[in-house]
Subunit: 684 residues, 2 copies
């Protein structure tokens, strides 16, 4: 995978401020650099000035005494290409283009300028933007953002890439107020050259970065993006990401905004699932995830989430949040309960979520002791403990929290029931305690859940996205070879043939229009179900053959006589996503798949564990169990069918672009599942 | 409805601190009172001390020279009843009981103490608690909470009642950091006497309170609660509420915590819907709602939510949030677009959500002008405009925002894309601007939605919860009188009778076990569907009568022969909720009602508008429209059936405690809906 280096931007040792003027963005950036004591050489460039900010101003790159690493072009779009061309001719390595006007709106002049920028990038210039607001390298003092709001962002371990320039500063301001610092940060703009994948790739090898945060509206180069994500997972540098454009109208808004492809949101969720990307619900929550993930502590296999608090209200809120988030707390081992009982009030609740009673809220040593005991429980993989940060003149000694953090290597999360507006006192306490303080109970539960998911994916790794060996032979044979059961059936060209086929199959049968191509049989009125005797079959076949004769465009070559199969209707389908390749989908079928939109989707390949996880994630999963006197369904057979159909699709794609079993009829447990209807769409 | 006055607590002019000692809670409260310059007379009470905090200490109420308004009992539970009895004997009017130990755990000694407190309350003592952490009256300087954290809560217009003492201080600390102040606030504890309804009732008539915030785990007196909520709605003082215990495990946790009845969460949602209570998603979000609702600005009828911003990212986030929250933005009138176009960049997006382009972010006058034009749009009922508060040394002039607020009486919400940790600068700006600043895009959309819902309920009022005139006659007749169609049917005691009935009805028919009492016919194997001729009917009847004979406990007296009805299966049921009385439920039926739990629930009575709103709120509402080649369903008939069943239930309850139509078969539009199975449960 080809990544473009961004070092020349983040590590620039000389800067040209193109368009330098007394006021405006160049002046703000110059003051940012001065305030941070940046050691990079700074060259103001403006042919209409001799001096600016008390510094010598250069008319062009040619006049600058040494080659420049990075040009900040703060000039109108039409002036950008020529300025950068002149820079490149004189050794310029990289540029940040702040202006918009490079074809976002589809205008010809803008498109021409975009082509010029692409040519410069092809000639070796590293290009951030256009339509961006710059970058930060706090350790180098390079605050190349035209606002003082981010001037004091401290060095830290969050790498940030955002497809929004304005949001960049406010997210950082909030993140810093919560105690985070930054390794390197980029407002990536329209990604005409460098894109989010390039920045992630940089963060993977950057020694300072421990967690990577992104706000994106779409993915420019899917292959590069997933390669960077895989590298980040291998390096145990979690990616936390907010992606807008989940809704249909938002996707069209995104396309008009940056020209980014927003794609199918469910596919992007599947990408996150496969690559261990933490998809945050909100921009606020990206901060919570980063606070916890930056510690580098990962839950071990086999345990679960535990919580300890001192509030009945917290207990109720935790249980609500866990139900909402699909989290089940791990049970306390009995030895842990025995160890806790003598330390706590008899009224304390020694089951998840543990409630020590209100008294312990101010008995920090005792609370830390209790937390230490729970953290040592073999079932505990993550411990969330109640905690609020001091604010203003409030005094609180971090030593007990620090001691707790030192006594275990398990991930710890201090949770508050409500947000806090933090200040210096709070941040200093959090740093000294060595524990991340997360705001809000639902947020805490989701952070813990994602931590567990991330660790599980890190342990499991990413299966190679190979496409199986290309196979030949009929689709029906291939389906059977992959363990997919097909109903007994025969094709008939006349009512009499249909009757004979039905006699051979046994009653009842279904008779359907048969075509080699795709066909919505139900919509075409081409399905007759539950025919109980030969006469009914012949009558139905005659009707359908008449439909076929009247509508030659249906492309029907006869009728299919099929054994009736009773059970739960499901749908299983595989297709090629235009961005992320082969995916598989499973859901509750029939008319309900549309009404409830209840499907699970994964990137291929999937194994049986994936398939079971898909089924468990369906909202209507109760339909697979015993319900209303019906027996439980053959979930194992569905899972096997999902894996088989996925493998078959990988063998046949891209010749087949879409393969759908609808319905897959699922019988009672032990009795299998049957692919009653198989539709394919040919690909390239 | 009987409310107990709480004035003696919130407006106390003399206080006894029972259990006064040099350190601990009494000392903290005393220092709180001193710091606030409370003018109330303060009498420390402790028989073992002569002086405390440099003040005279009294051995008992008898020794205090004047009757005391309010006793703060900060002594162990066993000492509380006697102390209060002695106080009551000497003119004490009210008390706050901080200690727990009054029967929460079900112990006999605690129960006895609780009985003593109840006797004191019955004798006229106003009692807050037990197991609470006190109250605040900022205007009076009465900070009766044992922590300095709430010492500086400013006077304001939020009335607060919380069933959690610890959360109280942190929620207030956060709310104050966001610019809210308090009229009166109570940590209500276990509500052995005064309960949340009493405090709401106080807030309704309190001149300072403009919005009422509550955290509850359950409702002690449902009738009083809804009466207080109705009074608050009539007074246009919105109630914003967080209720935990939504999930099944949380409900049992709540019951063990305060002994509060958590109830059925869906019924509580229906209570909120009916009484215009804003149910906040989180404790943080309660702050956002309060910031907006305290302005007293309500959206007018007929318009919708509009937004104006200067960020493509915000646009995408707004569309996602609107899709999630079920909000549709109102369209700009063309005159508004015409007025805006000359003011904005040609690339600006002049459709919801309006995106003016990034340049306007620092052109405040221009942005305010644009917002003013949009606010004047006749379609605009609520305007959300992008805005972030200044922090620290950031300078921003509030004049343009203030002028905008002054130029319209429509509700305005400034929205930030990400949270901010606010400080004094931010709060001063918000106050000066006259606009509430909400943090987060999803929060903004939900706040706007709830504002619209609140205003709609305020306009519409609350229908009287009358029970219809008691009617007699058969249930079938009553159903028909309420416009509910029943299938043609006959009861038969033998196969031959069943065959004759079927001949009369016409084929196909269903044959079902018939019993006067409740019966799960399907589970009992007592249903035969789609019988096409007399022979099949007689065979089925014989089988079912054999089942009835073998299982006399089913109480069957024959078989029911019923015309087959084809269509969408729904369920409509009414029942008596033990807390809130008659409710009605409608949902997608069949096995899916359990699997997807897709039902809407309202308090009775409901009218056609309610019924349509219920159907529109179903996740599976697509099943009622044209889907997969099926015609749209007769939604009007379902709505009429909901209203009819509700009215009938009100006539028959409580003799009938539960009335369920399952399935109600809904035919194509214009063809009605048919109550195929009606089940009742007798009540008291």
């Amino acid at each position: 995978m080809s990544f473009r280096p961004v070092d020349a931007i983040f590590h620039a040792r000389s800067l040209a401020l193109v368009g330098a003027s007394e006021n405006g963005w160049t002046a703000t950036i110059f003051r940012n650099l001065q305030a941070r004591g940046a050691t990079a050489a700074i060259y103001p460039v403006n042919p209409r000035r001799e001096r600016v900010w008390g510094e010598r101003c250069y008319p062009s790159f040619a006049a600058i005494p040494a080659p420049v690493d990075l040009a900040l072009t703060i000039v109108p779009a039409p002036a950008v290409p020529a300025a950068l061309r002149e820079g490149l001719d004189h050794g310029l390595r990289a540029a940040i283009v702040y202006a918009a006007g490079f074809g976002e709106g589809g205008d010809a002049a803008g498109e021409a300028r975009a082509a010029e920028l692409r040519a410069l990038a092809a000639a070796g210039l590293r290009l951030c933007g256009p339509n961006c607001m710059g970058t930060l390298s706090p350790r180098e003092g390079l605050v190349l953002y035209p606002s003082a709001r981010v001037r004091d962002v401290p060095p830290g371990d969050v790498g940030l890439a955002m497809q929004s320039g304005g949001l960049f500063q406010y997210w950082l301001q909030y993140a810093v107020s919560r105690g985070l610092g930054v390794s390197y940060a980029a407002s990536v703009g329209n990604e005409l050259a460098l894109d989010v994948a390039d920045y992630i790739n940089f963060f993977v090898s950057d020694e300072h970065t421990r967690v990577i945060c992104c706000f994106i509206e779409g993915v420019r180069r899917p292959d590069a993006f997933v390669a960077a994500a895989a590298a980040a997972l291998a390096a145990r540098k979690p990616i936390v990401l907010v992606k807008s454009g989940r809704s249909e109208p938002a996707r069209s808004a995104v396309q008009s905004h940056t020209g980014s492809l927003a794609g199918d949101d469910r596919v992007f969720d599947a990408v996150c699932e496969r690559y261990g990307i933490v998809r945050a619900t909100t921009l606020d929550e990206m901060v919570e995830h980063a606070l916890v993930l930056r510690t580098g502590r990962l839950p071990a296999a086999g345990g679960g989430v535990m919580t300890v608090g001192y509030s009945g209200a917290a207990r109720g809120l935790l249980l609500d949040a866990a139900a909402d988030a699909g989290v089940t707390f791990a049970p306390l081992a009995s030895a842990t309960r025995d160890a806790l009982a003598p330390l706590l009030d008899p009224a304390a609740e020694l089951a998840m979520p543990v409630d020590c009673g209100a008294g312990i809220a101010v008995a920090h040593q005792q609370f830390a002791e209790v937390c230490g005991i729970v953290a040592n429980d073999p079932n505990c993989a993550v411990l969330a403990l109640q905690g609020q940060l001091p604010i203003g003149h409030e005094q609180l000694d971090p030593q007990w929290f620090r001691a707790l953090a030192a006594a275990t290597d398990k991930p710890l999360i201090a949770y508050a029931r409500v947000a806090q507006s933090l200040d210096e006192t709070s941040r200093a306490f959090q740093t000294a305690s060595g524990i991340p303080f997360v705001q809000g109970v639902p947020q805490t539960v989701r952070v813990a859940r994602e931590l567990m998911r991330y660790a599980e994916r890190a342990r499991r790794g990413i299966p190679p996205a190979t496409r199986g060996a290309r196979t030949h032979g009929s689709l029906d044979d291939a389906l059977r070879a992959h363990g997919i059961e097909l109903p007994q059936a025969g094709v008939a060209a006349s009512p009499a043939e249909a009757g004979a086929a039905a006699d051979a199959i046994g009653y009842p049968v279904a008779v359907k229009l048969h075509a080699t191509g795709a066909l919505h049989k139900t919509e075409a009125g081409g399905v007759r179900l539950g025919l109980g005797d030969r006469a009914a079959v012949e009558r139905a076949a005659a009707e359908l053959l008449a439909i076929a004769a009247e509508q030659p465009d249906l492309g029907c070559d006869g009728v299919l006589v099929q054994a009736m199969v009773a059970g739960l209707e499901m749908i299983v389908g595989a297709r090629l996503d235009p961005q992320f390749g082969p995916v598989i989908l499973a859901g509750i079928g029939g008319v309900f798949v549309e009404a409830y939109d209840d499907v699970a989707l994964r990137l291929l390949p999937v194994d049986l564990a994936d398939a079971h996880a898909m089924l468990a994630s369906l909202r209507g999963r109760a339909l697979l169990g015993a319900i209303r006197g019906r027996p439980p369904r053959d979930v194992d057979a569905v899972a096997a069918a999902i894996v088989g159909i996925g493998d078959l699709f990988l063998e046949r794609a891209p010749a087949i672009a879409d393969l759908e079993i609808n319905p897959l009829i699922v019988r009672a447990a032990g009795e299998g599942a049957c692919a009653v209807d198989v539709r394919t769409v040919e690909g390239s």
